[in-house]
C-alpha cells in the first residue's frame, strides 16, 4: 500500500455531491407503482399484477444513472422479481438474471430474508461468492470518501470483483491514502486505511446557498443547495497552521469575512462554524426620461416602463438599457449598497456592430474585433449593441427590415496585402456612410474614431435676445444690440451686464456659461443698478458641412430622433441641420426636400431667411435648370434682413444672398 499525500480540494467534494444530486431524476409515480406492486402481492396475493408492476419499475430504472434512493428501489425490485419468478414455473428461468442484475447494481446488497426463501438466499450467496471477493474494510477515521477505481463507493463496501483495484480513501484534513490491491476468488481480504491528520477543516453552511467561498482570497467553490434554509455543508480542508481569512460572497448580499485565528489549526481539528447568514445588499435605482414610451432593462431583463423611482436592485454592475419606440439608451451602472443611483435616459441613435466582412487574417485582428464588440461603454452619444453569429450582410438586411437600429457598423480589410489597415464603415440604413481607416496594431486603434462618434455639436443654445461684446474697461459684457423682447424687459444697448442670476460675469464667455446653467423661462441680469428679468429662449445653431471631427451618419440619426420629439422653431432648426448634413453627402436633392418642408417663425438669427438662403444654395447646386428657382429663393431670403448664418450672432444672410443672385443673373 502506498501513501499518497494530496491536497484536499473541497471542490472535489462539491463536484461529487453535485454529481450525486444532479443525477437524472425519476418520475415520482414510480414509487407508487413500486408500493402498489408490494401491496398486490403482500395483501392480495396477485403475483401477476405485482410482477407486471415490478417489471414496469425495472424497465423505467434499468440502465440509467440513478440516485442512491432509486438505486435502492431498483435493487429491491430485482429482489422482488427474483422471489416472484421463483414461485412461477413459467418464469423460474429468469431468477438468475434478476440476481445477476442485482449483483451488478449493488454487490453489497443483502436480500430481504422476510420475503426471500432460504433456497434463493443460498443461490444469491453462491452466485456472489462465484463472482466476487469478500473484503473487510477498516477505515480510520470514519466519514471519509472511498473510491474504487475512481468511482465513489459506500464505506460499507463488502464485495469487490476479483482482479486489480485502485482504492483511495480520503477525508478533509487528512492525508489521502491510495492502495493497489489484487483480489482473487475465494480469498477474502482485509483492507485497512488509516489516515494521518495534516490540517484542520472548517465546515460551513450558508444562507443563501450558492455563495462563493474564498479562503485567504482564493476561490474555493460555491455552497450547494439543500432542501432546507441553509446550504449543504461546505467543507474547507487544508487549513495549515496559522490564521486564515474566510470570505463568503453572494450576489445581492453583503459579503462576510471571518478571521480564523491560529487556534483553529492548533491542534488540527474539524470545526463547524455557526451558519453564515448573509445580509441582503441592495441599492436604489432611479431612471428618468423626458421621452415617453421607454422600457427599462437591466442586464437584458425588463424592469418595466420608465420613469422608475427608487427601484430596489441588487448592488452590483449592470448594463442598463432603455428601449424607446425610436432610439435607445444604454449605459453601464454600478449600484452601490444602500445607495441611490440616478440615470437620466434619453433616446439615442442605436448603433449595431455586425462584424467583420471577409475571411482575411491579420496581425491584431482578434484584439481589434474584441475592441469593436465592446465599444459600448466608450460611446456617449449612441446606444450600442454587437451582433455575433450572423454574417454582416444577413444582420444588416434583418436590421433594416426590423427597424431595431438607426446605424450599422462593420469592418473590412484595407486594400493592401498583407492587411495593415482596416476600414470601419458606419452607415445609416438610408445609405449615408462614413469611413475611417484604422491600424489594428496601434495602442488604441479606435481612439480617434470613438472621439468622432462621441462628438455631437450643439444644435441650439440659450439666448436672451442681445449681442454682447468684451470691451476693455467695461464692468462686464457690453450690450451691442438688443432685440425686442429684451428691450421691452428694460435691457439697454451700450451698457454692460454685470450679473446673471446673482452670479457676477466679467466676460462674454462667463455670461454664456451662466446662461447654459440657467433654468426656467427667464433669467435675471444686472445692468447698472437695475435688475432685469429677461425672457430666456433658445437660438438655433448650424452644423458645419464638412468638419473632420464629426461623423455625419451619426449626426443624421441623432437629428432624426430629436426632430421626432421637437416642435416649433426647434424642429425647424433641427430640420435645417438635417439638410446641412445631407449637403455634406452632396445630397442636395434630399436637403432641398427637407428645407421646402420646413418653416421657422423667427425672423432673426438662424431663421426663415436662413432656410430660404440654403434652399437657394441647394437649387444652385442642382444645376442650370434650377437657376430661376434659385434666384427666387435668394430673393426670398432678402426679405429677412436680420437672418443670420451659423447662429444668432453669425453673419447676415442678406449680403450673401445678394451676391449669389448677382452671380446667377446672366
Amino acid at each position: 500500500m502506498s501513501l499518497l499525500r494530496t491536497c484536499f480540494v473541497p471542490l472535489l467534494f462539491a463536484a461529487s455531491s453535485l454529481w450525486t444530486t444532479a443525477a437524472l431524476g425519476q418520475d415520482p409515480q414510480l414509487k407508487d407503482t413500486f408500493q402498489q406492486a408490494k401491496v398486490l402481492w403482500g395483501n392480495q396475493g396477485d403475483r401477476d399484477g405485482a410482477t407486471a408492476r415490478f417489471e414496469q419499475v425495472q424497465s423505467a430504472l434499468e440502465g440509467k444513472e440513478l440516485k442512491s434512493e432509486w438505486a435502492q428501489i431498483l435493487a429491491e425490485t430485482y429482489n422482488w422479481l427474483a422471489v416472484l419468478d421463483s414461485g412461477s414455473a413459467a418464469r423460474k428461468s429468469r431468477v438468475n438474471a434478476h440476481l445477476e442484475a442485482l449483483l451488478n447494481l449493488n454487490p453489497d446488497f443483502e436480500l430481504d430474508s422476510a420475503i426471500t426463501n432460504g433456497r434463493l438466499l443460498a443461490a444469491f450467496d453462491a452466485l456472489r461468492n462465484a463472482k466476487l471477493v469478500k473484503v473487510a474494510l477498516t477505515l480510520e477515521p470514519q466519514g471519509g470518501e472511498l473510491k474504487v477505481d475512481g468511482k465513489l463507493r459506500s464505506s460499507a463496501l463488502k464485495f469487490l470483483a476479483p482482479g486489480s483495484h485502485r482504492i483511495t480513501y480520503q477525508k478533509p484534513g487528512f492525508q489521502t491514502v491510495e492502495s493497489q490491491v489484487e483480489l482473487a476468488l475465494k480469498e477474502p481480504k482485509a483492507l485497512e486505511f488509516k489516515l494521518q491528520r495534516t490540517s484542520s477543516t472548517v465546515t460551513i453552511h450558508t444562507s443563501p446557498a450558492g455563495a462563493e467561498v474564498l479562503l485567504d482570497g482564493k476561490a474555493q467553490g460555491q455552497t450547494l443547495d439543500s432542501s432546507g434554509e441553509l446550504s449543504a455543508p461546505f467543507v474547507l480542508g487544508d487549513l495549515g497552521s496559522g490564521s486564515h481569512v474566510l470570505e463568503v460572497r453572494a450576489p445581492c448580499f453583503k459579503s462576510r469575512r471571518i478571521e480564523l485565528d491560529p487556534s483553529f489549526t492548533a491542534p488540527f481539528q474539524d470545526h463547524t462554524l455557526e451558519p453564515l447568514r448573509l445580509e441582503p445588499s441592495r441599492g436604489r435605482l432611479t431612471v428618468q426620461s423626458d421621452a415617453t414610451g421607454g422600457e427599462l432593462f437591466l442586464d437584458g431583463k425588463s424592469q418595466g416602463k420608465v420613469p422608475v423611482q427608487d427601484l430596489q436592485v441588487c448592488a452590483g454592475t449592470y448594463d442598463l438599457t432603455v428601449r424607446y419606440p425610436a432610439g435607445g439608451f444604454s449605459t453601464r451602472i454600478d449600484v452601490r449598497e444602500d445607495q441611490g443611483q440616478s440615470v437620466i435616459a434619453k433616446p439615442m441613435a442605436r448603433l449595431v456592430y455586425v462584424g467583420f466582412e471577409g475571411e482575411e487574417d491579420f496581425a491584431g485582428k482578434d484584439r481589434l474585433l474584441k475592441a469593436l464588440e465592446t465599444l459600448g461603454p466608450r460611446l456617449t452619444t449612441l446606444a450600442f449593441t454587437a451582433i455575433k453569429g450572423e454574417s454582416p450582410q444577413a444582420a444588416m438586411a434583418r436590421l433594416k427590415t426590423s427597424g431595431e437600429a438607426e446605424l450599422v457598423l462593420w469592418v473590412k480589410p484595407g486594400a493592401g496585402r498583407p492587411v495593415q489597415d482596416v476600414e470601419l464603415i458606419l452607415a445609416t440604413f438610408q445609405g449615408e456612410e462614413a469611413r475611417a481607416q484604422v491600424k489594428p496594431l496601434e495602442q488604441d486603434p479606435l481612439q480617434g474614431w470613438v472621439e468622432r462618434l462621441n462628438h455631437l455639436p450643439p444644435f441650439s443654445r440659450p439666448w436672451i435676445g442681445a449681442t454682447l461684446l468684451d470691451v476693455p474697461g467695461e464692468a462686464g459684457p457690453w450690450v451691442l444690440e438688443v432685440q425686442e423682447g429684451a428691450q421691452s424687459a428694460g435691457l439697454k444697448a451700450n451698457l454692460p451686464i454685470t450679473q446673471v442670476n446673482g452670479q457676477a460675469v466679467a466676460t462674454v464667455a462667463e455670461f454664456r456659461t451662466a446662461l447654459d446653467q440657467a433654468k426656467g423661462e427667464t433669467v435675471t441680469v444686472m445692468q447698472g443698478s437695475e435688475s432685469l428679468r429677461l425672457p430666456l429662449t433658445r437660438a438655433g445653431l448650424e452644423i458645419p458641412v464638412n468638419a473632420p471631427d464629426l461623423c455625419y451618419p451619426v449626426l443624421l440619426a441623432e437629428l432624426r430622433l430629436r426632430a421626432a420629439e421637437a416642435k416649433g422653431d426647434e424642429l425647424g432648426w433641427l430640420r435645417l441641420d438635417q439638410a446641412l448634413a445631407f449637403m455634406h453627402f452632396r445630397r442636395h436633392d434630399r436637403a432641398l426636400e427637407i428645407l421646402r418642408d420646413t418653416r421657422i417663425l423667427a425672423t432673426r438669427g438662424v431663421s426663415q431667411g436662413t432656410l430660404d438662403y440654403y434652399t437657394g444654395v441647394c437649387l444652385q447646386r442642382l444645376g442650370q435648370a434650377y437657376v430661376p428657382e434659385a434666384i427666387q429663393a435668394f430673393s426670398q431670403a432678402l426679405k429677412y434682413p436680420n437672418a443670420t448664418l451659423f447662429g444668432p450672432e453669425g453673419p447676415l444672410v442678406a449680403p450673401l444672398a445678394r451676391q449669389a443672385m448677382d452671380d446667377l443673373r446672366p
Binding site: T467, L468, L469, D470, V471, V508, A509, L656, Q659
Partner: protein, 487 residues
Amino acid sequence: MFLPQSWMFRIRPAAMVCLATFTLGAQESSLAERLYVSGDRAYARKAYTEALETWNQLLSQAPQSPFAAQALVRLARHQMEQERKPEAALPFLERLKNEHIKTPWAAEGMLMRGRILMDQARKPQDLREAMGEFNRLADLFPDHPALPEARYRLGLAYEMQGQWSRALQHHLEALRLDPTFALAPAAHLRAAEVMDILGDLPGCLRTLQELRLRYPQSSEAKEAQWRLAVRVKHRLQKPVLTSEGPWPNGKTKWLKTPTLLAVGPRGDLFIYQDDRDQAFRLEGADAVAVGPLVKNAKALTVMADGQLALLSAKNGITHASTVPVAGLSYPTGLFQDGWQGFWVSDAKNAALTLVGADGATRTLPSPAATAMASLPTGGAVVASDANRSLLFLDATGQPKLTVPYGKDLPAPFRSVLSLASDPTGHVAAIVEGPFEGVVLWGPDGALLRFAAFKTLGLNGRFRAIALDRTGGVILADRSNDLLIRLN
C-alpha cells in the same frame, strides 16, 4: 480544342507580357513605397540631400505610382519651406497636376501652387491663375480637407481685387465647411474686416467677438481684441477726447524735432526726428533708432514686413534700397499697398504717384494732396486743402467718398497738417483754421470724435498724428520735442 500553332505563338507572348506587367506592377509599387519611406526617414533626420535624391529616384523609377505623387508634394514643400524658393516648387507642382490629377495629392499641390502664384501676384490680373487653382481644387476635390483653405484664399484674392461681397462669401464658405480648419481664425478675422468694409459694423463686431470666443489662444484673437475695442470706442462709445499730457510717462524734451509718426503692423509706434534725420521705434518709454538715415523726410510708413520706408524730396523712397521718384517737390504722403507698390503724394502735384514693385511708375488723377494715409480697402484717403475736402479713394484710385473740411464740426478748418489712419479704417487729422485741433472720421467719412487744442489745453506745433491700438491718438509736438496722447 486545338489551335493552329501560329495562335499558340500569339497567345503565349501576350500572356507572358500580362504576367510580367502584373509582377512588375507589384514590384514597382513596393519599390516606390520603400523609396518614399526611405526619403521620409532621411527628411525626418534633416538629411535633406539624401531625402531629395531618394524621392527623385522614386520619380524616375516609378513615375506613375501614388508614392510619386506624394514625393512631388514633398519636394515642392521642401522648396517652399526649407529653401524658401517658391518658384523652384512650381515645376514639381505642375508635374503633379499633369501626371497625378486623380490622386488626392493633386489637391494639396493645387493649393500650394495657388498660394505661390498668389504671393507672386503684383496686380489684380496676376491672381487669375492662382484663383483658377483654388477653384479647380473645389470642383475636383469637394471633400478634400484642403478645401476650406482654398475657399479662404479665394476670399483673400477677391479682397485684393476689391470684390468684397465675393470675398465675404468665400471666407464664410470656408467656415461653413469646417470651423476647425487651421486657418479658421484668420478666415473669421478677414470676414469681420470685410463686413466692416461692406458697412456692416454690428456684423463685424459680432464676428470679432465670436473669433475671440472660439479661438481664444490664436494670434487672430489678440488682433480681434484691439480691432473690436477700437471700433467700439471710436464709433459707438465716442468718449470726449482728453489729453493725457506728455507721453509716455510724462516725458518732455526727450526728442529732437519729431515731425513724423507711424504705427507698424504689430502696433509699434515709430517717430521720425527731423534733427536726427532718423526714425526711432518706441520701446517701452525709450526711442530706439531704426532704419536708414534720411534727411528732411516728409513721410514715413511701415511696410508689411515691419521695415520702415521714408520719403524725401531729394532721395525719393528710402528703405532697404532707394527708389527715386520723379517730380517730387513737396512730398506729403507714402504707404505701401497690398501689391507691394508705393503710393506717393506731393502737395505740389495734382496726381498721386504709384511706384510698382517692379519699379514702374504711374500716376493716378488726384487733387494736390496736403496729406495722405492708407485705407484697409487698399486705397487711400487724401486731404486736399485746395479742394477743402478729404477724398477717399479705392484700391484703383477711384474716388468713393468726399468729406468737406469741417463737415459737422462746430467750425470749419482750412488746412490738414497731418493725416493718419489705422487698419480698421479710422482716419485722424491735425487741422488748423477756425477750428484747430484733432478730428477723427470713420471709414465711411462720418465724423466720430474731435477736440480743439484749446479745449484740450494744448499749446505747441503739432505736426504728426498717429492712432494707436487702444483707441488713443498720439500727437508729435515739434517745438516742445515731445509726444502727447489723447484718450
